[in-house]
Structure formats: structure tokens, C-alpha cells
């Protein structure tokens, strides 16, 4: 009997909004699915696009990238820079045939504890439906004699 597929979700979040928002989810005792692993960065501006790719290379089935809403960035504009980077990177991923349904970009503020839970649940459920990201996981072994 095979076990039901449980997706591996990696989240890159900024320290000031989404990480704090996720803290609030905890403080509010709102339950969500436990598939997500959060990596804390100072700001979405710090999130190198390669980290997303590396998450998939490491076997993530889904990726969440989240930070402060526009105008709310602790560093005033890191999220605006990040947004531009995501706009271009997402287009490139799509052009290269990477499954962009597996990458969720989002703004979750420090006040949106419930929203964080909702986001994680939605992403976990939809990625579970998509199934494992096998074609990406196989890359590291393809082309090695």
C-alpha cells in the first residue's frame, strides 16, 4: 500500500510581515496543515530568485514566497524590488515550462494571521492535487552517466 502523497512546501518569508503574521497565526491558535517549512529572511528584497529554483531542486513540491503588502515594507521598498523580480522570473519560469502553479507569491501582513493559515492550507491542498513535482526532482540525475 502506498502512503498518500504529502507535498513538501517551502516558504520564503520576510521577517517583518509574513513571519510576524505567521507568529500571529500561532498566537491565535489557528490550525493549518503542517507541510510547510518556513525560511526567514529580512525582506522579500533579499529573496534571490535562485532560492526558489533551489527549493524545487531540493525536492519541494510547492513554494510560497511572501512578504509585506506594497507600501508596508519595513525597508520601504524591498518588496517593490522583489515584486519586479518575481514578475520577470515568473514569466521566465512559465516560458521554460516550469509549473508556476507550484509557486505562490503573496502579501501577508503581520496582522493577517488567519490569512497565513488560509494561504498555507490552499497551497498545500492544491499542490497535493498536483502531485509530486517528479519531473523537476529527476533533473539532478538526468544526464549523468
Amino acid at each position: 500500500m502506498t502512503e498518500p502523497f504529502e507535498p513538501k512546501i517551502t516558504a520564503f518569508v520576510c521577517n517583518w510581515c509574513t513571519y510576524a503574521g505567521a507568529d500571529l497565526t500561532g498566537t491565535s491558535r489557528i490550525k493549518y496543515q503542517s507541510n510547510v517549512r518556513v525560511l526567514r529572511l529580512p525582506c522579500t528584497g533579499r529573496i534571490d530568485f535562485m532560492l526558489l529554483a533551489k527549493a524545487f531542486a531540493r525536492g519541494s513540491d510547492g513554494v510560497i514566497v511572501s512578504g509585506c503588502h506594497p507600501n508596508d515594507c519595513h525597508y520601504t521598498s524591498g518588496n517593490y524590488h522583489a515584486r519586479r523580480r518575481w514578475m520577470i522570473y515568473r514569466d521566465l519560469m512559465d516560458f521554460m515550462g516550469i509549473d508556476t502553479r507550484r509557486v505562490t507569491f503573496s502579501w501577508v501582513s503581520a496582522a493577517e494571521g488567519a490569512r497565513w493559515a488560509e494561504l498555507v492550507n490552499e497551497v498545500t491542498t492544491s499542490v497535493r492535487e498536483l502531485g509530486p513535482y517528479t519531473e523537476y526532482k529527476e533533473l539532478a540525475l538526468t544526464g549523468v552517466e
Binding site: L24, R29, S34, R37, G45, A55, R58, A117
Partner: protein, 663 residues
């Protein structure tokens, strides 16, 4: 030589009831690099902290992971504990088992697995942590206040009274700003000059304050605690030291037909002038564009007349460089002029005036000595229409925001008018009445109820002249939009408050952000309303947004308090979470190629250029360099850097990568 100690906290039942902490601690023991892994009821308690300290000593730990609550909660606690045990505090990280795990998941194996994962991630991170040391920068305890209005004066006085040196720079010949032009002030109707002038004098006499009027900021370099400001002192053509302010030159000046700025063009002044009688300093300046000598090469009457020989036709602008530790921006505002209103006659009707002009008309020291006389023919206006929201809240005028003070000063204007001309009729067209503020609504009500000012809710669509009268056409929206037409002798437009001319250029010189309307932007709209996003530069008054006097004064004192707090220390210490450009031995020097794409990504202008020169002085390479005084550690530069030359301490590429690779 990673010797990591991991301390898993039960947080009483908070974590322990959901996560099998003992199992997590057990599993963590097998993670490479972990030499000590235990679980305990309350890690943050004294015994818990002692456990960590003892383990550091006993096991020679090189890194600590406390798996407990959110780092946003107890990171300082544990870092302190670690430091007390002799380990660099930045070698301690927290895994968030409570907010991010036990409180949000059900009790099951998957949750315990997640807890173990979160710890492993932090173990990998801490293996790549390096000891960091708080950044220390010296503080120059002298403040620069830009703008000599009430905001600047208040800020300067407060800082000076706290015992620190202040340089107060004002671009016009006198301090005082817009407040000195006002007749009376709402909601008390006390005389503006009467309350302001003592402050102006106090500022001028204060031993800690250096006044620089007729001066502007030319250039600013440096960072918090360590700015270098270059001030351009414009040539007054008058030697301030010799001038006694007797005023003889002014009396004798042949050209007296120059529209007077202080009186908003409603009066005239001479080419050598002091802006107003109470000016501080009370020293004249020569208006070179209007001076006969500068225009024709002849005259010099003032020079001949001056009893102290203080006139200096050859005086040049002077650049003064100042070291300052903090800056208060108090450059104020301007009002929209009547020529911006095609519907109200493009400023061609002399009797359609703006609020500041009305202030001068109403002022006892104004061109009419406080007697209500309309500008066109000096006739006493029997009917005056006041139009609130002239330009404000009007996208078409480029001012979608509320100018905030107009409702109040319009009520004040109407009252002042009624007090001077009891029989006259005062109408106010308004959109809403915004009178939030202590005694403000009462004030407006007094205008309506006691002084019989007619308030009409509606916009004025058109004003035109007919038979020496102004026809004001509008609609009364409270009467179902019924058209209203008033024949007025004078119309006062409560025009929009706008950012001072040159705000954008100044903001760029200072590297502070500004909003689309060129008002300077505060660092955080709620929690940092007087800070800018450039550390060490603070805001006071209407340069940030339209403000009335009490708010301006309060904010100025707030800014001064920030400066005083900054100056209370000899050194600034900052979290060492800052970006660094890597440096390598010759011949590489750095992986940085000097493309400077990071420079525009930095919200704090913290990236500077550094030149690498050979022994013979030839330029080998120009590299980016992070000014640790300015850097706030967002890391946006890091993800912009293609050569990975720039990295951020505490969230380095190696750290994040290691975290990710263990997942």
C-alpha cells in the same frame, strides 16, 4: 569545528503537549555537528538559561539553537544568555516550534517531524553563522535644522535647550516662516506675531543656536551621526556684523516699487529691504534683480547713506561646511496660487485672493494696517465669499489630498472679516467641514452661529467680473443642488497646501523619500512619523504633509526629542545585520565588478564607490562599498548582485543556502 548545542523547550504545555520534545531532542542528537541536545520545560526561565550557559562551557559549544517560541519573542533573551557564557550572541539562533508548529498543528507524528526539521534547518544555519559585533559609529552632537518657520524654530529651541548645538538654516532673509505672515490664529484668535516673535528672538539669542538666514543646503554627505553639510550663504550684499539695522538704507533706496513677498504682493518694498519689521535678524538684504545698481551699474545710494559702511556690493555667496549628527527638515509648504484656477479667472481678478493674502489684509501690520480694503480699488468689501477646498481634494488640480488647515482658517477668515465689518456678508462654500482638534469644531460653530457666517455646502463652479463685482456661481447641494449666485466684492480662495518649491531636489540631496506630491515621506506612517527612511534625518511640520500650528509644534518637539535621544550617546550601536562587499587579496580585490546596479536597489543610499589604486596611484578597480552606518540590512542588494560579491551578515548566502539544502 561545529559543536552545536540544541535546547528544545516544552514551553510548559504550549509546545510539549503537541510536539514530542524528548523525541525531537533525541533525533537532533544525530544531526552532524550537534554535540549536545536536550529538552526542558521552560528554556527561557533562569534554570533554562543556566542550562544553556553551562552547556556552552561544558561542551565547548560553537553554536546554539534554542527550539522554543518565535525569535521575535525571545531571541534577545537567549542571545544575551549565550553572550553571558562567553559565546558571541550571533552564534545563537532560534527554531520556532511554538508559533510556527505546536500552536498551529495537531498533535501527531507529522508535527513532531516538522519540529525536528525546523531545528535541523537552524542547526545548518548556525553552522554557517559567524561572530558578529554591533556596529559602532561616533555621533557629532550638532544638529542642522533646515527651515526657520515655527517648526524649525521650535525644533531648534528644543534641541538647544537639551544642551546641544544647532545650526538653523533659513533660505529667506528672516526666520519666522508663514506663521509670521498670519494675522490671528485659530481657534483662539490670538495674534500670530505676538506669540511667534518671542520665539524668534529666543532662537536668535540662544547660545546653542547659530542662525544662518538667506542660506540654503548645497550638498549633504555622510550618514547618521556623521553628516557633512555644505551650506550656501547667499550674499546679502550687507555686512551683517557692521549693520546695526538702523534702516536708513531702506528709507533712502530709490526703488520702492517692488511687490512685497511678505505681504503676498499686496504691498511694495524697496530693493534693499528687511522682509518685515520684526525680522530676525533685523538686517537688510539687497534684492539684486531689482536693485538699480545691479541693473544699471549706477546708484549705490545705500552705500553712501550707510552710517557704518556695511554695504558690500562685491560680496559673494559663501560655502560653509558643517559636521552635524542629525538633521531636522522643517522646510514648510507653499499655497497654490489663484492663477491655477481657470474657473475663477486665472488670477486676473485682483479681488480673488488666496488665504495668505487675506491674512495680510487682516493683519494689523499688513499693507492696509488691518483695515478691510479690497486690493483692486481699496473699497471695503461688503460681501465676501470664502471658497474652501480650492484645489484640494481635486484630482484635476493634482491635489487629491485634503489640505487640512483650510476649513479652520476659512472659518477664522470669515470671523475676522465679520469682526472688522459687522455689517458685511460672509459666505463660505465648503465640501465638508473638517474640524477635528481641540476646540476646533466649537470655533467653526461660533463662526456660523455667533458671527453669522453663511455656510453653503457646494462647489463654486465659476467666478466672473461684472460691473465691478464678482459673480460667484455655485450650487447648494443641501438644497438639492439648487444653483446659487452671489455678487461679491471679494473672494478668498482657501487654496491647497502644497509642498514647498524645490522639495524634490532637496529630498534627492538628502536621500529621503518623498510622496507623489513631493511632501517628504515619513519612515512609517504610524510608528515612525517623524523619522525619514534615512537614519538621522527627521521631519517637522508641513514639509511632510499639511499641518496646523499645534501639530507642527508638537512634531517639531518630537523631532527634537529624537535628535536629543540620538545625541544622548557618544556612539551609536547598531545590529550588525548589514550588507558587506567581499574583499579579497590582490589581484582580485573583490568579486565586485563595479556595475553599481545594487546602488539603485538600496532604499538607503548605503552603497558607495570605493576606488582601489595601485602603489603608483593608478586606478585599478572601482568597487561598491556598503556604508554600515546607512545600511539597514534588507538585503535587496544581495539578490541583485550577479557576482555574489555582496552578502548580508546574519542572513548570508551560505546560511540561507545551508538551511534550504537541509530541507
Amino acid at each position: 569545528m561545529s559543536r552545536i548545542g540544541v535546547f528544545t523547550c516544552h514551553c510548559g504545555e504550549n509546545i510539549g503537549a503537541t510536539v514530542d520534545c524528548a523525541k525531537v531532542a533525541e533525533r537532533t542528537r544525530n544531526v552532524p555537528g550537534v554535540v549536545h541536545s536536550v529538552d526542558y520545560k521552560y528554556m527561557c526561565s533562569d534554570p533554562g538559561q543556566s542550562m544553556i550557559k553551562e552547556a556552552i562551557k561544558e561542551h565547548g559549544l560553537t553554536g546554539v539553537v534554542v527550539a522554543a517560541c518565535s525569535p521575535r519573542m525571545h531571541e534577545p533573551t537567549f542571545r544575551n544568555a549565550v553572550e553571558e557564557a562567553g559565546l558571541n550572541p550571533y552564534l545563537c539562533e532560534m527554531a520556532n516550534l511554538r508559533e510556527h508548529c505546536s500552536w498551529v498543528h495537531e498533535k501527531n507524528d507529522a508535527t513532531t517531524d516538522k519540529a525536528a526539521d525546523l531545528i535541523r534547518v537552524m542547526v545548518e544555519k548556525v553552522k554557517h553563522n559567524t561572530p558578529l559585533h554591533p556596529i559602532r559609529v561616533p555621533v557629532t552632537k550638532r544638529a542642522l535644522v533646515l527651515g526657520g518657520g515655527i517648526a524649525g524654530i521650535q525644533a531648534a529651541l528644543d534641541i538647544a535647550n537639551a544642551g546641544h548645538k544647532v545650526v538653523l538654516v533659513e533660505k529667506s532673509p528672516s526666520i519666522g516662516g508663514h506663521m509670521s505672515q498670519l494675522s490671528e490664529t485659530f481657534p483662539t484668535l490670538d495674534c500670530s506675531q505676538c506669540i511667534l516673535t518671542p520665539r524668534m528672538v529666543e532662537a536668535a539669542r540662544h547660545p546653542n543656536i547659530t542662525l544662518m538666514t538667506y542660506a540654503e543646503l548645497e550638498k549633504l554627505e555622510g550618514f547618521i551621526g556623521n553628516f557633512k553639510a555644505t551650506i550656501r550663504r547667499k550674499a546679502r550684499q550687507v555686512d551683517e556684523k557692521l549693520c546695526t539695522g538702523c534702516g536708513l538704507c531702506i528709507t533712502k533706496c530709490p526703488n520702492k516699487k517692488i511687490p512685497d513677498e511678505f505681504n503676498e504682493g499686496l504691498g511694495k518694498r524697496s530693493a534693499i529691504y528687511v522682509p518685515f519689521p520684526q525680522a530676525v535678524p533685523n538686517k537688510p538684504v539687497i534684492d539684486k534683480t531689482n536693485c538699480t545698481f545691479y541693473k544699471s551699474g549706477k546708484c549705490k545710494v545705500c552705500e553712501k547713506m550707510c552710517p557704518t559702511g556695511a554695504i558690500r556690493f562685491d560680496q559673494q555667496d559663501e560655502l560653509v561646511t558643517l559636521d552635524v549628527g542629525a538633521i531636522v527638515l522643517a522646510t514648510g509648504f507653499k499655497v497654490m496660487r489663484t492663477d491655477k484656477f481657470p474657473e475663477y479667472g486665472y488670477g486676473k481678478y485682483a479681488d480673488v485672493i488666496d488665504g495668505l493674502q487675506f491674512e495680510r489684509l487682516a493683519s494689523a501690520s499688513g499693507p492696509t494696517l488691518g483695515v478691510m480694503k479690497r486690493p483692486s480699488d481699496g473699497k471695503e468689501p461688503e460681501t465676501v465669499v470664502f471658497v474652501a477646498c480650492s484645489g484640494s481634494r481635486d484630482r484635476a488640480k493634482g491635489v487629491p489630498y485634503c489640505s487640512k488647515i483650510c476649513c479652520m482658517y476659512t472659518a477664522k477668515h470669515a470671523m475676522l472679516y465679520k469682526h472688522k465689518m459687522h455689517h458685511g456678508k460672509a459666505y463660505v462654500f465648503y465640501m465638508d467641514i473638517r474640524s477635528g482638534g481641540k476646540d476646533y469644531d466649537e470655533f467653526v460653530r461660533r463662526a456660523i452661529e455667533e458671527d453669522d457666517v453663511k455656510y453653503i455646502r457646494g462647489r463654486v463652479s465659476r467666478i466672473y467680473e461684472e460691473d465691478g463685482q464678482l459673480i460667484v456661481k455655485g450650487a447648494d447641494t443641501l438644497m438639492g443642488g439648487e444653483p446659487v449666485e452671489i455678487k461679491a466684492d471679494m473672494v478668498v480662495l482657501a487654496t491647497a497646501v502644497q509642498a514647498q518649491d524645490g522639495s524634490e531636489e532637496l529630498a534627492q540631496k538628502l536621500h529621503v523619500s518623498y510622496d507623489p506630491y513631493h511632501f517628504f515621506a515619513e519612515s512609517h506612517p504610524k510608528l515612525k512619523p517623524v523619522e525619514t527612511n534615512t537614519a538621522g534625518i527627521y521631519l517637522a511640520g508641513a514639509c511632510q504633509a499639511p499641518r496646523d500650528i499645534p501639530e507642527t509644534v508638537a512634531q517639531a518637539s518630537g523631532a527634537a526629542a529624537k535628535v536629543a535621544a540620538l545625541f544622548s550617546r557618544d556612539e551609536l550601536t547598531r545590529e550588525p545585520v548589514v550588507a558587506v562587499v567581499n574583499r579579497l587579496p590582490a589581484p582580485t580585490f573583490s568579486y565586485c565588478v563595479g556595475c553599481f546596479l545594487c546602488q539603485s536597489a538600496c532604499p538607503y543610499q548605503a552603497i558607495e564607490a570605493e576606488e582601489i589604486r595601485g602603489r603608483d596611484g593608478t586606478l585599478i578597480k572601482t568597487l561598491a562599498k556598503v556604508n554600515a552606518g546607512l545600511c539597514q540590512g534588507c538585503g535587496t542588494c544581495v539578490s541583485t548582485c550577479r557576482t555574489k560579491a555582496i552578502d548580508i551578515q546574519g542572513f548570508s548566502n551560505e546560511q540561507i543556502f545551508a538551511e534550504l539544502m537541509t530541507l
